[in-house]
């Protein structure tokens, strides 16, 4: 129960953030985003038809009225219909969000876990050949374009030119086996790209922790490496690690991965969002921006709560 006021306070703090995010995004969308009018016109339009389409899109209404309606839509969760396909935006999000989450989640979890493991190894053997090997591999992973990795893995694992074990495209998931069938190659692609970044970041955090006096003291006392790494180094490094993980969650949930979804033919929210950005489909954009804002507020709140758990000093403050 003592947590309720804390949660309420954090949520209240999130309201200005949400207003700011939605307002700035809406300004960008209205004044700098693509104009959908000409994509919805016939081939030989006249001025009357242009103004009809602008009216239908609501472009001829005052900015503040439109922004007010946007906030109302977010509060009532009545997100309207896509300007491109006419489908209800709420239905698009509920259909695509779970796909993106299940696409990115394995790579996200394994990428972070493996990143932590490699970072610990690298930090422990700092300056030695294993550290150099892991760091070099990380730099290679960071340097290769995501696109090259995707196409390379497709050729290697999904076509007759390679092993031909997995599908090039699709997402006809109906059980665990089919899930692994479709998610394996995208997950490998995510790992190859994110592992390097994660490892380097976590290594830097751990190297800093390993240099602290109390760690040196523990080593002098002969504490075993696993105990030292997991109980003392990892635990004391959790604040920056949690921050990194928590702040990537909204992106993982909402943006999915455009390239993966596009190249592997996966009907997730990343592709829908990208199409909405490039085509100026404002109802979808407004919903995605609102959703991202809410997720960030929640991530902030959970992050603060986790700080309480992992660092007693935060609680005392």
């Amino acid at each position: 129960m003592t947590k309720l006021p804390f949660i309420a306070r954090r949520l209240a703090h999130g309201i200005p953030l949400l207003l700011g995010v939605t307002f700035i995004s809406f300004v960008l969308m209205v004044y700098f985003g693509p104009d959908k009018t000409y994509e919805l016109l016939g081939k030989n339009p006249d001025l009357e038809q242009i103004s009809e389409v602008r009216h239908a899109l609501g472009y001829d209404r005052p900015f503040l009225v439109r922004y007010g309606d946007y906030l109302k839509e977010l509060i009532t969760l009545d997100l309207g219909l896509s300007d491109s396909t006419g489908e209800a935006v709420a239905s698009i999000i509920t259909r695509t969000l779970p796909v993106s989450v299940s696409l990115v989640l394995p790579g996200f979890i394994i990428g972070n876990m493996a990143g932590l493991a490699l970072a610990m190894l690298s930090a422990w053997y700092r300056g030695r050949w294993l550290d150099k090997l892991i760091m070099s591999a990380s730099v290679v992973g960071m340097s290769v374009s995501f696109l090259v990795i995707i196409i390379g893995l497709q050729i290697l694992l999904c076509t007759p030119y390679g092993l031909n074990l997995f599908p090039v495209r699709g997402w006809q998931v109906h059980d665990l086996s089919s899930y692994f069938y479709y998610v394996t190659v995208p997950t490998l692609a995510i790992l190859m790209v994110t592992l390097g970044y994660n490892t380097r970041f976590y290594r830097a955090v751990m190297v800093e922790e390993l240099e602290r006096d109390h760690i040196r003291t523990l080593r002098a006392f002969g504490t075993s490496p696993p105990e030292l790494l997991f109980r003392h180094v990892l635990k004391n490094s959790l604040i920056p690690i949690l921050t990194r993980i928590m702040f990537s969650v909204p992106f993982v949930l909402v943006s999915g991965s455009l390239l993966l979804e596009s190249y592997f033919g996966i009907p997730g929210i990343g592709l829908v969002t990208f199409n909405a950005i490039t085509s100026g489909d404002q109802p979808i954009l407004k919903a995605v921006i609102g959703l991202t804002g809410v997720l960030f507020v929640l991530a902030l709140m959970i992050n603060d709560m986790l700080y309480n758990v992992v660092d007693p000093r935060v609680k005392r403050q």
Partner: protein, 598 residues
Amino acid sequence: MLKIIQTAILLVLLTTGGCGEPPATTNSAPAKIYRHALDGAPGSLDPAQAASLYANFLVVNLYDTLYRYKYLARPYKLQPNLATAMPEVSDDGLQLTIRIKQGVYFNDDPAFKNGLGRELKAEDFVYSIKRHFDPGTRAQGAWLWQRRIKGLDQWKTEGSEYDREVPGLRAVDDYTIQITLTRPFPQFVHTLTQGYAAIVAREAVEKYGQELSNHPVGSGPFQLDSRNSIRAVLTKNPHFRAEPFRLEDEGYDPATQGDAGFEALQDKIPPFVDRLELEFITEDAARWNAFSANELHFMKVPVSQFDTVLSQRRPLTLSPQFAGAYHFEASPEAGFIYTNFNMADDRIGYNPDPERNRRNRALRCAMVKAFNWKKRNEIFFYGIGEVFPGIIPPAVPEYDPRGDKTYIQRNLQAAIELLQANGWNAKNLPVLDYGFPNSVTERQIFEQFRNFMVEMGYPAKKIRPMIFATYGDYHRAYSQGKVTLINSSWTMDYPDAENVMQLYYGPNGAPGSNSSNYNNPEYNQLYESSSAMGESPQRTRIYRQMNQLLMDDCTSITGISRTLLFLWDRKVIMKPDRSFVGGYFMRFVDLVESPVEP
């Protein structure tokens, strides 16, 4: 540590052990599934909004139109679809009477009473066309019939009330439609093949409103099973009217099509496949990989793979490794690519000062001469595009293969001399804004264009790129006269040259389809005098004369028609089509057990 690695490998093997096998399918899976790749995704599936090729691919399969094109006939020939015959046309060409087939039903849907599809009647066609003139529909096809059907434009200005009759668009009885035109329009029947003219049920529109775009309720050969951003699945409409396939009705030519397996289709009832899976794959590499992995039966080969697929360009020959496995067709595009000068811009177009007007024309003509079509074709179209002078592309009968080609031949020296003779130099040449939507290829095309002009002596900094986030933004900019050089393309809506001649008709100026704002009274008069003519030697002469006027005025740097390469599995019997309303062919696609050998 070793144990951890071993366990990890074991886990990976365990979890992905069955991955070599595709997911199990159920016993009720359809027997014949045809998988087709499209390089773009459709937006709305509401016929009134079926503006793109991709939307048409679905709409003409989900809904019925009165007419279609014969499956195998080239050049294209019209064929009744829902209509019982070609229209009965009055002597003055103004009144058309069309009778429709009886016993055709809309698909079952909750929109209808008791959820059962009702019979499609003439009134449904009338309603479907009226929707284009209702501002609430956000329709995109009104331009096809604007000012063409008696009383229809007035019906719109008077409030678009569906229960009010339009004098020129009537259902005489349940199965007879009568259309009265304001003036003869020989291309009218072509417009009735379009997805725009597909017939919807009023009940469905009223029930689903804008969401009709995702709830198609038609009477076509297929029904929508599912659709998302990357694919659409259509299943066979079990109630589609049983009309046997007849080779003689579809324009079959045994001499050229005898080895494609079409004879096996004779007297069978289309659609022949149980399920269509349309994959929307915009990325060339992904499309190619999916096709290589046999996940698709058909694909349009991306230009980046032409080298892989072809062993030689002229004549186009497939590499042996592909020749054994696939059918192949090179199809000329029904349209063309061009760069218009904005004639409304007095820096390069019409100028009130006669002297400057004359010099502007000389400048445009010099730029036309400096343009290198050979290189453009080589770099961006693999050298297999068809370059032709003017705006009458090889896809239409009015094209003159023996016509003068000097307009498309580079003559740099003549271009330089023309500039000098008319007092143009690096200092006084105007700054030109070259527009294009943002993409790597568009940027490359711009750089190549600028380089051609630089070789003529045009300062590079005086040809500025104007880059737009989307094609819609670009369209808005050139419609508002903000772009001097408009690089664009035109895909023909129907196989009649009128569809390209109207592109330079003065009254169609921006924001209309005449993006060059060309306004030559002589051209306009010729267009008007020929507008009531069907395809004929007389009209061909007029069109060629109009084409010459455009070239004499150096209105546009034009043009090239791309050559599209199609590959498809040898187990598929079909003639693929991307022109006009190409998706009609899908009802005639069939799959066989053994590959069809050439």
